[in-house]
Symmetry: C4
Subunit: 196 residues, 4 copies
């Protein structure tokens, strides 16, 4: 299997996830702005998850590009990542409808943590398949973003479940998104270097 | 990232948005034409939004084609546009189910205005990335359509919220759609010229 | 715009329509075969529409292939066809849930008739764009299938609404599907001939 | 029609099926872990079906690659397979919501059996089109997986309906998934051999 096909399938799944997520924004009964306002928490959680999925789409693309071929472990690690990403609309809707109630914010973090772990596993599978001196390995370097994110997720999950400080948890989720929004030029730079 | 991939992802998202929008047309209880007739406003709003999304799909394609590469700002401006487009099924369903009630017509205009602004931002990002003498800049020229549309949307929003003249607002939305339906040959002409 | 892109977009929309149609098959309450049996009419109408959409997907592909370029009229005639196809899940669900009640069977036929007309318009737009001696024109020849289908749809609509003979209408819909299922080698043959 | 297009369409449909399946995981009312826990059976059935669809996606790809052209029978055998796969979200949701009640587990097996039969028919159509000495025929060899799976499905269906031993049935479904998860290198090896 070629990497382009894995990429096309993953792109399609992410495009569908990002779009069906809006179906959780159910059309309300009543035609006033008050009624619409009651959906604001669902809207906010939708915005956050939309940004997360945009980041995953973008980084996933760059990562897959460093692979020269698709092995069985890469294929299943990729499906494993798509599985956890597919749960994002569910936890987004649950958290939004319950106005970021502590346990819903905690479960949101659990799914995000699983996505991060699945992403890390996929990264390791690609590095393993490419052998020592893998382009991806050099590109990610110390991978401080990849190491920091799970710690922040875990902290957010802990404060949400233990202290019911859901706003601290939400702030941490926003923080992780911001960290990744800052463009990661490492892989891009390496790809350009390889071409030259 | 190549422009073809940004285009494929955007196409997929727009194809999904345009298609899941029909899910707002809920199968009614009762098997008579009377029951079906009660869905006519939802159907009408669906037609309008279908045409809008068709226009966005078409113009988006031509615009992306003028870009020679995808920068970070272009990528996120594109996701920003897709975000607002993804809200179209929601406002379409809300407006239709409430028979074009003033506030729903106003909110429909707000989302349309945000789509137009997001489209304009994406346009500017592409022009900025291409540098002075950008093909897109020359192609859009005075961009009277791009300048007129937000004004018409703003007017529609105002009359919907302030005077509750929802039919004036709806007429303005139809007018904007008609303006864009008239084919915009500028970009196409420039692309043909470039190839020659 | 290239025909490949129009084809890719149309394929995506048809793939989504064919798949979300199954969402009308709502998971029932109750875990017995009796409960499942009550969904049998919905299942039957799903099968019929699945076959219809498969036929449209296949023939649409062959037709687009005969076009050498995408003009504005072709683009909008294509979106017009996709619009009517997008209503298929709705009428399928409505007809199935109401056990093929006469008026639902009649409305199903109306949407099918509109799809057929939209397909015919698209065909004419491609022939017009290709000029005299168009490959498509020669390929479809007398186009007896294209001429017979609307007549059969119209007959089915009439008997459904006027006499409430919904089973005659359904038989006519099955008949049209069977007519088209018999492979139409005309276009394929012409394409092969052109390549040679 | 080229095999790449059949593949792209099938990929899109499978990507949509795998993703809309998560819509059966309905956002619950209530913001506690208890409420979430009640969805655990639905989650479990989702995991099982996700793995099945991942396996079908992967094997389908390899199988289509052995075909050199798409005949009418291949096209319709492929749509027939997609039809049964499209029912997977429905039976997955039904089984999950009813906590693997015997009859729901039996019906799940029936759909899985039909998918397996449809896959086998598609395989035979490709072999028939390729003629004697078909690459696919040599690649699948004795096809013990393809022969064993329907037997295991049939056994699961029988114990589910006759003895209400739904957990035996579920174990058999998991067993079939595991058998296929072990990578099937036959086709891949043949494709590599052909290229050399």
């Amino acid at each position: 299997m070629k990497t382009t096909r894995l990429e096309a399938f993953s792109d399609a799944v992410i495009a569908i996830i990002i779009t069906i997520m809006v179906l959780e924004l159910k059309v309300p009964h009543g035609a006033t702005l008050d009624v619409l306002w009651s959906l604001f928490p669902v809207f906010l959680s939708y915005v956050l998850s939309f940004v997360y999925l945009g980041i995953y789409w973008n980084n996933h693309h760059h990562m897959i590009h460093t692979a020269s071929r698709v092995t069985g472990p890469i294929l299943w690690a990729n499906l494993h990542l798509l599985f956890w990403l597919s749960l994002v609309p569910f936890v987004t809707g649950w958290m939004g409808e319950n106005h970021f109630a502590p346990e819903t914010a905690g479960v949101y973090g659990v799914v995000m943590l699983m996505c991060a772990i699945a992403y890390w596993i996929l990264q390791e599978m690609i590095i393993a398949a490419e052998g020592s001196g893998s382009l991806l390995k050099r590109a990610i370097g110390g991978d401080w973003k990849g190491k920091l994110s799970p710690i922040l997720y875990a902290a957010a999950i802990a404060v949400a479940f233990l202290f019911h400080w859901q706003w601290v948890a939400m702030s941490l989720y926003v923080l992780v998104a911001l960290i990744w929004l800052v463009p990661d030029r490492r892989i891009e730079r390496m790809l350009v270097a390889r071409e030259e």
